[in-house]
């Protein structure tokens, strides 16, 4: 019997035992709603588990009972004595079959249909029941008398385990004390050997006892792939399951408490969230729905997230349901916020499913989920984007965890860092490590990747006499990384971490406390908290990664967008909004081909337009920014990436369209911003044939006209000729200085410019020559006229 099945049997049996009283009480008062709910949840859970354990018989039995109970809950049927007996008979049968699973005995299912029939309204008198049971007993080769197989697992109270844990920890400390005494007193070798043996026994025992309480979250996740597969197959849906963070260790007690809620949530996500493949394709999604289940530690919580990209929850429909179910009045509904409306999903007896399926959909589930999670001091957060998906977060308090950690020291004090957050450890002064300053901030290049440096000493406000010797590169949950400068790196240890007092947690940089063997408490650093305190933004992404949606939202609110700064081939520092950059890649110069005066880059067999600022591309390799406008892609050759910074773009705009849209100061350096519009226009060869551009004749021939006016006119999309050069050229527009004689050009409009700014209306016939807005508007008007 595999573990899952064993768990199921143990759980079902345990619930049955716990429920025995409820069942009897329900029999006495069939109208008692809360007892009814308990029994209903039991059969619902059994049904659900059977679904993915492939126990069709139990599933059929529990489904039948559930149907009846659902009717009772919905007041469609009255729970009379006959119905109660029939349900109880059914529960007895479920118990028998469950036992049979464990013992491996067969129970005849010949009379199952009688049990099911007894549940139906107007069924024969329940006298059938004892008879049915009797048949079951005789036909079942004496199941009731067969001894249960002895299970190799027992259940203990958590209190007892806590006492064992405390006891063994005290033992470790006593051992340490003894070790000191022996060392000081100079014990003989036989004593030492004996002591060593004692030591290793204690160490082993501590490990074993600690493990009794802890389990990897993975235990919670192992059942998911099979369950997802079965449910999606049954519903004709395609689901791609991604699981993350299974190695977080969590209190066993917690894991057991989360198991059912998680099962319900995943089942709901597939049943109600993810659409059928056809529907998904219709709304432009991939046919296979995405289901992401992850666990991670944040501060003193473990977050378990279930994210699907299905249709989400329609809060308005929930409200309608709640109103028709009498849970909510119209007036109350009107005053609810979106979040409050969403929370209606947790009301008992409410479900948005249009159809009841065997998978879920009777409104149990979410209320049970919340009840279970809240019982262990957790929270359930719900976030729905209609049409786009649902994110459910179970926030479970971290009572105690074992975290593989690295111990480091700074300012003479030891700290622990969760190993899961550590990317790598480098020595300052090593070959691949180059420290430098950027606008007062320390940064480091590690094998070419730029990372911000945080001095732990400074963050903690400790005075460090010793220069930091190591950098611990930490990665944050968003993918951002930073380097933490510490004085020394000591050891990898598995530490038992407990939450610190609230007044300590309030510092925002600690994840808990731990007690190493030297019996001096040590603080576990919360890497995200340290980053925040040091002012490292989470958006400081590794440059090769696109910015996640969530991350950029915060920035855009402030008007700033992440901008990629790079050094161009001509040595000038330029910038481009990061959103346009898909990735940064090194390509061989040999994959560049030039056809028809345009460069193209061979990327995976496709020819992508390659643009550069004009400077020569290296012989061997070229670094390119791969950009994407949603439809077309192109590559832009650069020299090197400098940084990604959030910038509120306020450009000194160039008048002439071209590579550079404008210049602005970023961190006190002038940065030329690439005109992405122009870039794509170039890349796609969309530039209009010059011959088709409207012609503008400039009558004057002074330097101002040639140097100042001509670029502006060209920028507006004209070809420019000077009367001086081509006196007879045809033109669509003539610009002359005010007062000059007009040599009329057939079909051409005339714009007059005057050298002084006067009151508007003083010379309506002409424009001041520095009235950029007026001039541009006039140029555009004529351009449009010509093009139309």
């Amino acid at each position: 019997m595999d573990d899952l099945l064993g768990d199921f049997v143990a759980e079902t049996r345990e619930t049955l035992e716990a429920m025995a009283g409820e069942i009897v009480a329900w029999e006495a008062t069939p109208d008692d709603r809360s007892r009814l709910d308990t029994i209903f949840r039991f059969v619902h859970t059994v049904k659900g588990s059977c679904g993915f354990l492939n126990l069709p018989r139990l599933e059929a039995l529990s489904h039948a009972a559930e149907d009846v109970l659902a009717d009772v809950r919905a007041d469609r049927r009255r729970p009379d004595a006959r119905l109660v007996s029939a349900v109880l008979a059914m529960i007895d049968r479920i118990a028998e079959v469950t036992d049979a699973i464990e013992t491996g005995k067969e129970i005849s299912d010949a009379d199952d249909h009688l049990l099911v029939a007894a549940l139906q309204p107007g069924a024969a008198e329940v006298e059938a029941e004892p008879e049915v049971l009797a048949t079951a007993e005789t036909g079942a080769t004496g199941v009731a008398t067969a001894p249960r197989a002895v299970s190799r697992s027992i259940r203990l109270s958590a209190d007892l385990l806590d006492r064992m844990m405390a006891g063994v920890s005290d033992m470790v400390l006593a051992r340490n004390e003894l070790a000191r005494r022996l060392r000081d007193g100079g014990a003989d070798s036989t004593t030492e050997v004996a002591f060593e043996r004692l030591s290793s026994c204690i160490a082993e025992m501590r490990d074993a006892i600690t493990r009794t309480r802890m389990a990897r979250v993975e235990n919670l996740f192992t059942a998911l792939p099979r369950m997802v597969r079965d449910i999606s197959a049954e519903l004709g849906k395609q689901v791609q399951l991604e699981i993350d963070g299974g190695d977080v260790e969590l209190d066993r007690e917690m894991i057991e408490m989360i198991r059912d809620p998680l099962t319900h949530i995943v089942r709901n996500a597939i049943d109600h969230g993810i659409e059928l493949p056809e529907q998904r394709v219709l709304v432009g999604k991939l046919a296979a729905g995405r289901l992401h289940v992850s666990a991670r530690q944040v501060g003193n919580h473990i977050l378990i997230e279930v994210i699907d990209d299905g249709r989400g929850i329609d809060a308005e429909r929930l409200v309608q349901k709640a109103i028709s179910a009498g849970i909510l009045s119209h007036e109350q509904a009107a005053g609810l916020t979106w979040d409050r409306k969403l929370e209606l999903i947790f009301e008992p007896g409410l479900s948005t499913a249009q159809q009841v399926t065997s998978i879920s959909g009777r409104g149990v589930g979410m209320d049970v989920v919340r009840a279970n999670v809240e019982r262990i001091g957790g929270l359930v957060d719900i976030e729905s984007r209609p049409g786009q998906g649902l994110r459910l977060t179970l926030r479970v308090p971290l009572t105690l965890t074992i975290i593989p950690a690295l111990t480091i020291s700074s300012g003479g004090q030891h700290f622990a860092i969760p190993r899961s957050a550590i990317d790598e450890i480098v020595r300052i002064g090593g070959d691949a490590v180059r420290m430098t300053k950027l606008g007062g901030a320390e940064i480091v290049f590690i094998r070419g990747t730029r990372l911000p440096v945080v001095s732990l000493c400074n963050v903690l406000g400790l005075s460090g006499d010793i220069e930091p010797a190591n950098l611990v590169v930490l990665k944050l949950s968003g993918g951002a990384r930073y380097a933490l400068a510490v004085e020394a790196v000591h050891d990898h240890e598995e530490l038992v971490v407990k939450p610190a007092a609230p007044v300590v947690m309030a510092c925002g940089i600690y994840g808990g406390t731990t007690l190493p063997d030297n019996s001096r408490p040590m603080l576990l650093l919360d890497c995200a908290g340290v980053a925040e305190k040091a002012g490292i933004s989470r958006d400081e992404k590794n440059v090769s990664e696109p910015v996640a949606e969530d991350e950029s939202e915060g920035l855009q609110e402030a008007g700033a967008v992440p901008v990629l700064l790079f050094c161009d081939l001509d040595g000038i520092e330029r910038g481009v909004p990061l959103a346009l950059v898909e990735r940064i890649e090194d390509c061989f110069a040999s994959s560049i081909s030039t056809t028809g005066g345009r460069m193209r880059l061979n990327i995976d067999g496709r020819l992508v337009p390659l643009i550069s600022c004009g400077a020569a591309i290296g012989d061997l390799k070229v670094r390119v920014l791969r950009m994407h406008d949603g439809v077309e892609e192109l590559a832009y050759a650069i020299d090197s990436v400098i940084d990604i910074v959030p910038v509120t773009i306020e450009l000194q705009r160039s008048a002439v369209p071209g590579l550079v849209a404008g210049v602005m100061l970023v961190e006190d350096r002038p940065i030329e911003f690439i005109d992405a519009f122009w870039l794509f226009e170039q890349g796609l060869g969309a530039e209009q044939n010059r011959a088709e551009l409207p012609m503008c004749r400039l009558s004057d021939n002074d330097p101002w006209t040639r140097q100042v006016l001509a670029p502006l006119v060209e920028g507006a999309g004209y070809r420019v000729v000077f009367s001086e050069d081509q006196p007879d050229a045809a033109a669509d527009l003539v610009i002359i200085s005010d007062g000059a004689a007009v040599r009329s050009v057939e079909g051409a409009a005339v714009v007059r410019l005057r050298p002084t700014a006067e009151d508007r209306g003083a010379s309506p016939e002409s424009l001041w020559r520095y009235d950029r807005a007026g001039l541009t508007a006039e140029l555009r008007r004529h351009w449009n006229k010509r093009s139309a």
């Binding site: 844990m165 405390a166 920890s169 005290d170 470790v172 400390l173 300012g411 004090q413 963050v459 903690l460 406000g461 400790l462 407990k498 610190a500 007092a501 609230p502 007044v503 300590v504 309030a506 510092c507 940089i509 600690y510 406390t513 007690l515 019996s519 001096r520 408490p521 040590m522 603080l523 305190k533």
Partner: protein
């Protein structure tokens, strides 16, 4: 029936005061603590009481005085909200039973004591301030806010 509760008489910053005995677990000697950088001033550090970690509260700093210096000290171990704390005290006197409920002090207390006293009790003619342990753990207002 008269209200009669047990209190522990201690001396904090030269002031005799009482702690409700229901909070108090034991009294221990504390020597070396592990400091908590960035914590408010009244958090003296962490101390291991056998296998359990105490958060040691510097009562003098909480009252607005200077941070206590390192060295051996007495601390009253209290449990609050599932966490263990050690309240540094100058001296521990005795556990006494005091009748009646704490009354409002008639004298005007110093700002530090106003925040941490839950009233006054009289014991053998001597008025004693009742220390509000949760408030003391939370520390001065400006930091708690």
């Amino acid at each position: 029936m008269m209200m009669q509760d047990l209190y522990l008489i201690v001396e904090i910053a030269g002031q005799r005061a009482v702690l409700p005995a229901s909070f108090v677990e034991s009294v221990v000697e504390i020597d070396e603590v592990a400091p908590v950088p960035c914590a408010p001033a009244h958090v003296f550090g962490l101390f291991a009481l056998r296998s359990r970690v105490l958060t040691v509260i510097d009562t003098i700093a909480a009252l607005g005085g200077d941070r206590s210096t390192a060295g051996e000290k007495q601390a009253v171990i209290v449990t609050f909200d599932g966490h263990l704390y050690g309240m540094l005290v100058d001296n521990v006197d005795d556990v006494v039973a005091i009748e009646g409920l704490p009354t409002r002090p008639r004298a005007r207390l110093s700002p530090g004591w106003v925040r941490y006293s839950a009233g006054v009790l009289e014991h053998e003619g001597e008025p004693l301030l009742v220390i509000d342990i949760p408030a003391m753990i939370a520390g001065p207002l400006d930091l708690a806010a």
